[in-house]
Structure formats: structure tokens, C-alpha cells
Symmetry: C2
Subunit: 347 residues, 2 copies
DNA sequence: TTGAAAGCGCTACCAA
DNA sequence: TTGGTAGCGCTTTCAA
């Protein structure tokens, strides 16, 4: 590894030599003050009054050198950071969630946190937690499953003052935003029951990484129909036209009068295939999707869907901030998934 | 700001007191060795041979304390990091791109880089660049526009050994993965010309943040039809059913025989509205989308589309690694957007 | 084979 | 109002 030597304090010759990264000491030297003064000026330290001319000299020197403070050195010295870390979702997750993340980032940066999505690929469970902990974040927001009590402990022991999970279940020691996907399935199930349907299929994606959501959604349907005598059939489906056509071809044998799909995309895929098979919707089979995507309004009949409401980013940001300020408070658990049925023409 | 006092080295009493974050010194103390030895063992330093019993003691002590190294301290000492920083896109961008990012993260972590998406919201241009520079990343990958030569300079002066832009145009001093969206429009335009269409509309999203892509796509259509006597009309469209219906109602007046939409979503939205108005597709008006989404196969007629091929994550990861290893090499410029027409039934 | 110590860049305490 | 300086956690050179 080649180390770039520090530029000595003597000014370099005429040619613009590739200088090394300027530090606050360089700024101090150029401004003719001490490093302490530079720090006071650039951080607007209120406990210390610096004369106006000095301030100006420091600012000018900093600008001239293109000085940018070194976050690592700063947080090392401070003993803590304002870094909020989220693992980046490994699979491309929906629009809804992307929007939520954006909102959250915005709200957190309003509170002066730095938000970073950590590209964790190939690391699982506690290894991932250790990798995150190396950055000494002040808070960690973990979507989905995959973080256990051990991981929470690792993070807390490394100084994280708040660990928040966003997923289907609580984790010991962490705050939880309970995304109760069962309620999504329950909502669809109740609707179908009310519409008099008795033999309900539930489309479950075959794609990896979605079980954490698809399983509870299926379970919710089961619960809604429990004790009514209605049957619930899981229908694994890959997100391809061929798979949908195959499933549709099998429809008479299945004898279902309703189907709830994991989300609108799978619903539309199947609905298209069913129409191509001559299945009448909603007469022969009712179809309900989820997530209320624009997509569901394009194909006819318009798709009934479960509208899912995520919490506002503001809300989560405030929870994080509270937790950071009082790390010893009891972990909070919030149910945050609103599910409501949007009835259109397919059910 | 409340500082957590360091736990003194005397063992705490019975109750599990909230200890402070363990450091390598704590590990050394518990293992009865020096901090240097701890470092050697935990980093598998090959230049130094440590006896097996010592190794074991160190590892056990580290595990017992739940020791996690402090990335900031490490990179401060080392003088450089393995951090690759990407600003997180402010607007939810398509599936295609999300997949690309994932692949890239995977490829980079194979090369032992840590990839982080920085939630830049509200910061623009050079301010954003400064914020990124504070983390002293070894490389910065910037999608879209918004980074100027100034920003590149800031990053390089702060030690970034590679700056790569992924966008419509080169930026002085940075490597460029040229996403030539004009070629997407050009592809659609050529196709429509070949199909004998002469009055071409181009749907341009009204939503913010998409101009960087929509403008070149429009321009590409213009170029493809230049000199053929065909007309090109920009059609601003918001992503709502109402807006689409309004545009469709205006269709007779516009007198267009073809339309290229920014992407498949807008194309489908408009195609649905056109069908509802009784416009025959493709007889009266040909419709072409872009991005080749599943969506385009669900509504009939199946949507013709421009299939866009992004480079592999592997490819970009290798470019980054090369640039990091040889930061003084000439900035490379690569055209990386493959555009090919997928003809289905709507054109 | 192991240890002592310097020093990365920064801030905050204390002294001048 | 300003400067000197200790020390955050870590790695690495040099010495033992």
C-alpha cells in the first residue's frame, strides 16, 4: 500500500503539486492561528468568543485549501456519532417502501442525523450486526427479519443508543415498528367472506426474500376465514407469464371462487392469465390484490386491492430521536400498518 | 451532551452494570497481553508470528467482551478507508436501477469494499459533495446529474481516489458511465419511422426529478425523425388516471399517429385512457414504451417497448477498483446503455 | 514472540 | 480572545 507523504510545511514550488488532504492544522497555519481557534471558528462554538477578523481569516484559509472536516476523527474524539444506519434491502422492494425510506431520511436529517444505507450483501444475522457496529452508529433501523436478540446486543454494546426493527415481529431489546402483514391478509379475507366467497386461493410468490411478508399475509386470510367453513389454498406463483398461464390452466380443477394475491403485481399477472382462459371476473372468481398500485387500475375489471398505509417518516424519526435521547427507556412497540380494502370491480 | 464515563478497570459488582464500549485495550487486559498483540491476532497480521495459546486467549477475550473494532479509529490510523459512497437517489427510481445497485454492492463487497448509500436530502451540488467528503470515502459513485467539476474537485482533494458519475454527461475530472438516454428515444423514433408513422407524440412526465432522463429520451426521438418531415410533439403527463384521460380526450385534436412514452408505466396509463376513448391501437395510434416492464405484457395489445440494458454491477465494480488502484489514470468514459426495441402488438 | 509508544485529525479543557 | 495539549481507538515501527 503506497502511503502519500504529508506535504511539509514549506510552500511547494511553482507547479501545482498534488497536495495531500488538508487538515485543520493546515488551515491554522495558513490563517496564522492555532488549531483550537480553527475548531472554534468552524464549529461556531458558543462558549468561546473569537474576534471577527480572526473568524474571517480562518474561513478564508479553509475555503482556499478546500478544507473538509474529517468525520471519523471528529466522532472518534466526540465518543459518539450522529449516524443512523439502515441495512439496504437486498431485494428491490416496492414503491411504497422506497417512499417511506425517503421521507424518513428527510425527517432524520431535519433532526441533524446522517442517514446511511449499508449495503449488506452476503452477511447474515450476527455477522451483519457486527459489520454495522463497526461504524458505531447512534441508531440502527432494521427492516425485515434477520436481526436477532444477539444482534441487538452486539449493536447496543457497541454504543448504539437505539435499535429499531421494522418487521413482522418484536425482537428482544429493540424498539419495534410492527408491520403486521397479517392484517393485510385479514382485510382481504374478511372482504371475500362478506362477498360470499367460500373457496379462496392465496397467491404466494415463489421469489426469494418475500416470505417474511407473504407468509403473514396468507396467515391473515386463514384467520379471517377460520371457522366459517371456507377453504384456503396456497398458490405458489413465480412472477412470469408462463407460470401464471400454467396456474390459470389449472383453474377448473382448483375450483376456487376467489383469489387474494400477494400484491397487485401478482394479482394482475394472474388476472390476465385467467381472462385469457375465459374465467369471468368477478363472476366466476373474485380477485383481490394488495398495495394499491396504479397498475391495478389499468386492466379491466379494475382490481380490488388492500390499501396499505405505512407510518410517516416523521413518526419514525421522532421515535428514533426519543430513543437516542433516552436509551434506557423501555423498548416501545407500535403497530403501524394500516390496511383498508379498496373495492373496485374485480370482487 | 452527557458523556458516558469509562468503566474503570476494576471489575464491576454483581449487578450487570451497563458497561461502556469495549476497546482493544479491554481485550488486551482480559487476555493479559498488550494492545499490539491483540491487533496482530485479530487482523491475522502475517508479518508477525503469535503463539497459538496467545491467539486463543485473545480470541476468547474478544468474544467474551463482544469486542467490535472501531472503523473510524481504524481508518483514521490507516489514513484511508475502503468506503465506497453513493448518494441514495432522492426519488424512487425503477426496478432496473435498483437491481443494478444491488448487483454493484455485491460485486464491490466481493472486492472488500464497504458500500454505503448516503441519504442526501436537501443538500445540493457542492454542499452535498462536502457532506460526502467528510466520510473520506475512497470512491464516490454519483448517479444522475447534480455533481459538477467543483464537487469532483472537493471529493478528490478529500482523498477520494475515484469519482464515477452515472448519468447523461461527462463531468470534468471524473470517470463517466454515460447513460445515454438519447439512444432510448432514438431507438423508439427509428422504429416508429420504419413503421411509417409521421406525427409522433412523446410523453414527458410532469413529476419532478425525471427531467434528467426524460429530456434526452425526447431529444433522441427528435434526432431519429430529423429530416424525415415527421413531427414530434412533447406531451406533458402527470402519473394519474385523470391526467391520462384528459390527454386522451384531446387526442383527435392532436392528430397523432404514434406516441412514445417515457416508460412503460406512462405508456400503459395512456394506452388505457386511449382505449377508453375508442382509439384503436395500433391502427389509429401506435404506442411504444420503455424499460420493458412486466406490466407491458398484461394489457392488450401487448406493449412494444424499448428494452434498456444497464451495465453489469461487476463491470462498474471493476472500473471502480481499477480507478482506486491507479488514481492518476485518465478518467475513462464508457457508453453503457444498451437500447433495443422489443416489438409486440402496440406498434 | 511480545511490548512500548507514536501518531492519524479533531475537540475541549485549562492556562495565559 | 487565543494557544497548548491531552486523548478518543487503532495499527505499526522499533526495541527488547
Amino acid at each position: 500500500m503506497v502511503e502519500i507523504p504529508n506535504t511539509p510545511s514549506v510552500p511547494s514550488s511553482a507547479a501545482p503539486v498534488p497536495r495531500s488532504v488538508p487538515t485543520s492544522a493546515d488551515v491554522a497555519r495558513l490563517a496564522g492561528v492555532s488549531r483550537a481557534t480553527v475548531s472554534y471558528v468552524l464549529n461556531n462554538t458558543s462558549a468561546v468568543r473569537i474576534s471577527e477578523p480572526t473568524r474571517r481569516r480562518v474561513h478564508e484559509a479553509a475555503k482556499e485549501l478546500g478544507y473538509v472536516p474529517h468525520a471519523a476523527a471528529r466522532s472518534l474524539r466526540a465518543g459518539h456519532s450522529r449516524l443512523v444506519l439502515m441495512p439496504a434491502p437486498a431485494i428491490p422492494v416496492g414503491l411504497l417502501y422506497a417512499r417511506f425510506i425517503n421521507e424518513l431520511q428527510w425527517a432524520l436529517s431535519r433532526l441533524d442525523y446522517t442517514v446511511v444505507q449499508y449495503g449488506t450483501v452476503g452477511l447474515r444475522g450476527d455477522d451483519a450486526a457486527r459489520a454495522w457496529a463497526e461504524l458505531r452508529p447512534v441508531a440502527v433501523l432494521v427492516p425485515g427479519t434477520g436481526l436477532g436478540p444477539q444482534g441487538v446486543a452486539v449493536l447496543k454494546r457497541s454504543g448504539a443508543r437505539a435499535v429499531v426493527t421494522l418487521g413482522p415481529e418484536r425482537v428482544e431489546g429493540a424498539h419495534a415498528l410492527l408491520m403486521d402483514h397479517e392484517s393485510v391478509g385479514h382485510c382481504a379475507g374478511s372482504h371475500l367472506r362478506a362477498r360470499g366467497r367460500r373457496r379462496v386461493g392465496v397467491v404466494v410468490p415463489e421469489e426469494d426474500g418475500l416470505e417474511a411478508y407473504s407468509r403473514p399475509r396468507l396467515e391473515g386470510v386463514r384467520q379471517a376465514l377460520h371457522g366459517t367453513g371456507a377453504t384456503v389454498t396456497a398458490l405458489p406463483l413465480a412472477h412470469t407469464e408462463q407460470a401464471a398461464a400454467r396456474l390459470a390452466a389449472d383453474w377448473p380443477r382448483l375450483g376456487l371462487d376467489a383469489v387474494f394475491a400477494y400484491n397487485d403485481e401478482y394479482a394482475m399477472l394472474l388476472m390476465r392469465a385467467l381472462k385469457d382462459e375465459g374465467v369471468r371476473i368477478p363472476e366466476d372468481t373474485a380477485v383481490v390484490g394488495a398495495d394499491d398500485l396504479m397498475l391495478g387500475r389499468l386492466l379491466r375489471p379494475r382490481l380490488s386491492t388492500v390499501h396499505v398505509e405505512l407510518p410517516s417518516g416523521q413518526y419514525l424519526a421522532e421515535l428514533v430521536d426519543r430513543a437516542v435521547r433516552d436509551p434506557h427507556a423501555e423498548p416501545e412497540t407500535h403497530k403501524v400498518l394500516g390496511a383498508s380494502l379498496v373495492r373496485r370491480d374485480s370482487s
